[in-house]
């Protein structure tokens, strides 16, 4: 729609232009053409092609509107401009769409508006080079960088203050080709290990995502003559017991030291952080080349440390800064362990001494006091039940805290705690009772059955049974029968042959079952038996062959056959 409007405006204006300029009908001016907005840092520039032939006192004015506004607003700095461009700086939200319109004016007559396509200023804005300030020490140069754009809190880059990246090119002026390239997102950096009284130069460019600035002009500085008092060297950080230890090296003995710290995040901000350095407690005017301070002074975050020497009259420059993640060094206190035995399990309680970390687990090592085989358990819970232990056995445990951080740190192990498990009897009571009950019931059921059986037999098969031999027979399990081949059994066989009908009735199920046992055994004859059993196996097969016709008739005959097998085996 805008495009068509513009086209219309152009046609109108063209017509008007060809007609009469003097006509004061409000549309007699030629509208500006090809209006463009460019943004470099906080300088917005509106540029247009005015009328080719400059006639009289033609001026240009622009309006703007953002998506948050309903009306057009006169653009400050771009009213009644005689040239073909104007600079301005709108106090707007740079992430909202903005649109412009421009027109030509002369006395009472105005042209139609030329509308600029709406855009988001932040997306359009280009990056200018950063500013640099250098400061020299005897063997170091401090580089202060300033992001492009205004610094009064209204800049288009204000919200990017923390996303700037700088590329620095640093070189010694006299030497050629030895350029150092440094990438940093700190606004203050320091070049160390330089020569005294030498000229060093630097240029820098800024980068914001893919927006890259041009290089700044070259800045140069001379390092000073060597300072009498040297700064401490090789600053290191460590932990001892529950304290941190900062150590450094220094040759001279007649000096005192002081050490300072800085939050690492202070380096990210664009402001001078030199007054944000803080004194480490117990580390002022010390004569030792180390300082010990409690871990509680620092959170588990990143810090910078620096040390300075002083001999009363003079102080050295600061040492190189040491970046430290205190979390890496902090001592993790071991958990406190206690346990309670309950028959075959142990109830273990572990507790980290205080809330040291958010995410951690306990590692628990359990072993039988007498042996050395250890069981390892890892748990997030602080009370753990370890089941399945031997009763009346002393068990020992120790535990430590495992952190799930970058360094997979652990605490030392807690003190060992031992405890004897309770006797197993107590534990067995619950399941022994039902077993006893079942057994009792089984016995009762058996007796009742037997009684009923007796009655049954009494009614249907009165006295003529010779019970003693049958009892003998039934006492003899068939497995044994097959293997043992005593003379006595041979005799029994004959007796059974005579009384087969009785046997059938007496123990029909048992014989049937044993037949199955037998046949399964016989089926193994085809080759599964061992050498020892070979002869026996053959005998069984033979016996089976003889038995088969009889077996078809009735189970009683089968029993007979089996008995006769005993005879054959002998």
């Amino acid at each position: 729609m805008l495009a068509s409007l513009e086209a219309m405006a152009l046609v109108l204006v063209a017509g008007a232009w060809r007609g009469s300029l003097a006509a004061a009908d409000g549309k007699s001016q030629k509208a500006p053409e090809t209006v463009e907005v460019s943004i470099i840092d906080d300088v917005f520039t509106l540029q247009w092609n005015g009328s080719q032939e400059s006639v009289g006192n033609v001026t240009y004015s622009a309006d703007y509107a953002t998506s948050e506004m309903d009306n057009w607003i006169k653009l400050p700095g771009c009213q009644h401009i005689t040239g073909s461009k104007c600079d301005f700086f709108p106090l707007i939200n740079f992430y909202e769409e903005i649109k412009f319109r421009v027109r030509a004016e002369e006395e009472n007559s105005t042209s139609s508006w030329y509308y600029v396509d709406p855009f988001i200023p932040f997306q359009k804005a280009r990056l200018g080079p950063p500013e640099v300030r250098l400061e020299a020490e005897d063997k170091a140069v401090i580089i202060y960088l300033f992001r492009p754009g205004k610094r009064d809190g209204t800049s288009i880059w204000d919200m990017d203050a923390l996303s700037f990246e700088f590329s620095l090119v640093f070189w010694e002026n006299s030497s050629h080709g030895e350029e150092q390239e440094i990438k940093t997102n700190f606004y203050i950096s320091k070049m160390y290990d330089l020569s005294t009284e030498t000229t060093y130069c630097l240029k820098a460019k800024a980068r914001l995502s893919w927006k890259v600035s041009a290089y700044s002009p070259v800045y140069c500085i001379n390092t000073t003559a060597e300072h009498k008092l040297l700064p401490p060297e090789n600053v290191t950080f460590g932990a001892r017991n529950q304290s941190y230890v900062l150590t450094w090296e220094y040759r001279d003995v007649n000096v005192t030291f002081r050490a300072q710290w800085l939050h690492a995040f202070s380096k990210l901000t664009p402001w001078d952080n030199s007054n944000e350095w803080k004194q480490i407690p117990n580390c002022e005017n010390v004569r030792t080349t180390y300082c010990v301070f409690p871990q509680s002074v620092f959170q588990k975050k990143e810090y910078y440390f620096r040390v300075q020497a002083s001999d009363g009259n003079d102080t050295s420059f600061w040492s190189k800064e040491k970046a430290v993640q205190t979390e890496m060094y902090s001592t993790i206190l071991p958990p406190v362990v206690s346990m309670k035995s309950t028959n075959d399990s142990l109830h273990v309680f572990v507790k980290a001494p205080k809330k040291q970390f958010d995410t951690f687990t306990y590692e628990i090592i359990l072993w039988e006091n007498a042996s050395h085989t250890e069981r390892k358990l890892v748990s997030k819970r602080s009370d753990i039940i370890i089941p399945g232990l031997k009763p009346l056995t002393p068990y020992c445990i120790k535990a430590r805290v495992l952190l799930q951080d970058k360094w997979n740190k652990t605490s030392v192990f807690s003190a060992v705690v031992c405890e004897k498990t309770k006797p197993g009897a107590a534990a067995s009571i619950p399941w022994v009772i039902p077993v006893i009950v079942i057994l009792l019931l089984a016995v009762i059921a058996f007796c009742v059955m037997k009684l009923l059986w007796k009655c049954f037999n009494y009614v249907f098969f009165p006295v003529f049974k010779p019970p003693c031999s049958i009892e003998h027979f039934s006492e003899q399990p068939f497995g044994n029968l097959l293997l043992s081949t005593s003379e006595e059994q041979t005799e029994k066989c004959f007796i059974i042959e005579n009384t087969q009908s009785v046997i059938i009735v007496e123990e029909p199920e048992e014989t049937d079952e044993d037949y199955r046992k037998y046949s399964s055994q016989s089926s193994q004859d085809s080759g599964n038996y061992s050498n020892e059993d070979e002869s026996l196996g053959n005998q069984i097969s033979e016996a089976l062959l003889q038995l088969k016709p009889q077996a078809l008739s009735c189970p009683g005959e089968l029993v007979l056959g089996l008995s006769s097998l005993g005879l054959h085996s002998s």
Binding site: N93, F94, L162, H263, A264, F265, L268, E302
Partner: protein, 158 residues
């Protein structure tokens, strides 16, 4: 999450007398539905939020309202998170080169934080204004944490 916890403790107790100053900042709730890959979009969003929240707290250092130590803790947390996410994103950027467009989500979040910033300025960084801003930033974090959790549960390419 640690940061969210800190922000929660930062916004309590909320003084009743500040209720009248409450303002809607228009948290951009649908920014993650833009056509970018969800996972990357969330990382970008968290990076932006951490950075802007850190920026707000360190630019003005409202030490009259919260203890310096507490502020340091929250600033550390936010800056560490920001740096961590920055490394993540840079690693990913190396793999895909077509990052030449500013994401809509980033712009939406910028607009949102600009509104917060303007609000603070308008209210002359008053006690109530800070309290409200703290609640708002906490709300913003909780919203995106919740969103991420929901995404994880639904396993939308996360």
């Amino acid at each position: 999450k640690e940061n969210a916890r800190l922000l929660i403790s930062m916004s309590y107790p909320f003084p009743l007398r500040c209720l009248k100053d409450i303002k809607g900042f228009g948290l951009p709730q649908n920014i993650l539905s833009y056509s970018w890959p969800v996972e990357r979009n969330i990382k970008e969003a968290f990076y932006e939020i951490s950075m802007q929240a850190f920026s707000i707290f360190s630019r003005h250092s409202p030490i009259s309202i919260w203890k310096e130590e507490f502020l340091a803790q929250i600033k550390s947390g936010l800056s560490e998170q920001k740096e961590h996410l920055k490394r993540c994103l840079e690693e990913e950027k190396k793999q895909s080169k077509n990052m030449q467009v500013i994401q809509q989500s980033k712009l939406a979040l910028r607009r949102y934080f600009q509104r917060i910033e303007n609000y603070l300025k308008d209210k002359k960084y008053s006690y109530c204004a800070w309290k409200i801003v703290a609640v708002e930033i906490k709300r913003c974090f909780s919203y995106f944490l919740k969103f991420t959790e929901l995404l994880r549960e639904n396993q939308v390419s996360f």
